[in-house]
Symmetry: C2
């Protein structure tokens, strides 16, 4: 069965490396997919180098051109950069303890918030999370193009976010994102260093996409 | 307020054109964002030209390298192409009546399915839709790079999908996607032609991303 096969290969093979080899972290693809997709990965070690203000705006310019159901654009982003320490400290509080250990090393944090209902008729938007995910991908694609790395986290404190930022009903905090240039993994707490060296793995194409029925899948 | 301003600009300005001008459909961006993001849009008119089998596999190779929470990869795709008429007819039945009118003009349809729970411990995956949206974005980037267009639809019949494809509990059909090369809009039913000519609009960067609180947003 698909799922089973797929998760048998979900092993984290630790490589014998002292430093992060960006070539080694590139995706092991079947085809020559776009280099920005191939080279993207989610580091925990970020450099101190700040992200230029205009570049930050450019990332959200990319995000806003993602497609969405009824062009609802059910995505909002609260941003903090380390050069404004009070704002950065406040947004850091939305991370869970585990993620706070490494993500505060990034120069920029983003809280993603989904808009729950359609503006026109108030219906629940069942693809709001899906479309928010697309906007984040567009941001990531643009970031990667500018040598930035993006690490998304589902491990956040949504109630804390609502309270700290006065997020109204109808909007729901979903993830946090660390953005920055790649850093030295030696700066990380030890337990994170091993994760940083792990080989990236994915289910095969045949395990996620097929013709025919679920119980009798045929190769594309 | 953000939301209000944003939706005041959500007007569909119909352009006086008889043919789709791809330059005119490009996103009206503030910055020089990546051309694949700028040029992407969601047409309803597709050409008959089939999508090469290896290219189809390449699209899903791109999709599978999207990031996901705990590398869960909560995305599955059921695919049908027009050169296998029975399979295409079957997948077309999952479209709602409105979308069936135009989407069956595409040479390829994809049903997206989310995996509801984490494999390891059975917890509900609250970012499964979000991560599925990311995989679809990766597919879309790769498609756009190969002159393909992608049009996503939330308007589907999920129960029909489950029944026709024996989709088990724990997996939920979410969207359908039409994929193909651009076609002549004159082949579309008349009510769709006007939509095809509409200018693409988005909320501004300041309307979706900010520093500070929700009720006292500051410009990035």
């Amino acid at each position: 069965m698909y799922v089973k096969k797929c998760f048998n290969i979900k092993l984290n093979i630790i490589m014998a490396m002292n430093e992060i080899d960006l070539v080694e972290k590139a995706a092991d693809t079947d085809y020559d997919i776009h280099e920005l997709l191939q080279q993207r990965w989610s580091p925990r070690a970020f450099s101190d180098k700040p992200v230029d203000r205009e570049l930050i705006r450019q990332l959200f310019d990319a995000a806003r051109w993602a497609p969405s159901s009824y062009n609802e654009q059910p995505w909002r982003f609260i941003v903090a950069t380390k050069d404004r320490p009070e704002e950065f400290e406040r947004l850091s509080k939305v991370l869970n303890d585990h993620n706070r250990k490494w993500a505060t090393g990034a120069p920029m944090l983003v809280l993603t918030v989904k808009k729950d209902h359609f503006e026109d008729d108030g219906r629940p938007n069942k693809v709001a999370k899906h479309d928010l995910g697309q906007a984040v991908s567009y941001l990531t694609f643009e970031a990667t193009r500018h040598d930035l790395f993006v690490h998304q986290m589902a491990g956040i404190l949504p109630r804390k976010a609502r309270e700290l930022y006065n997020i109204p009903e109808g909007f729901t905090p979903l993830t946090m994102i660390a953005v920055g240039y790649i850093g030295d993994m030696e700066q990380l707490p030890e337990d994170f260093r091993e994760k940083e060296k792990a080989k990236r793995t994915r289910c095969s194409v045949d395990e996620i996409a097929f013709r025919g029925s679920w119980d009798d899948p045929k190769q594309l």
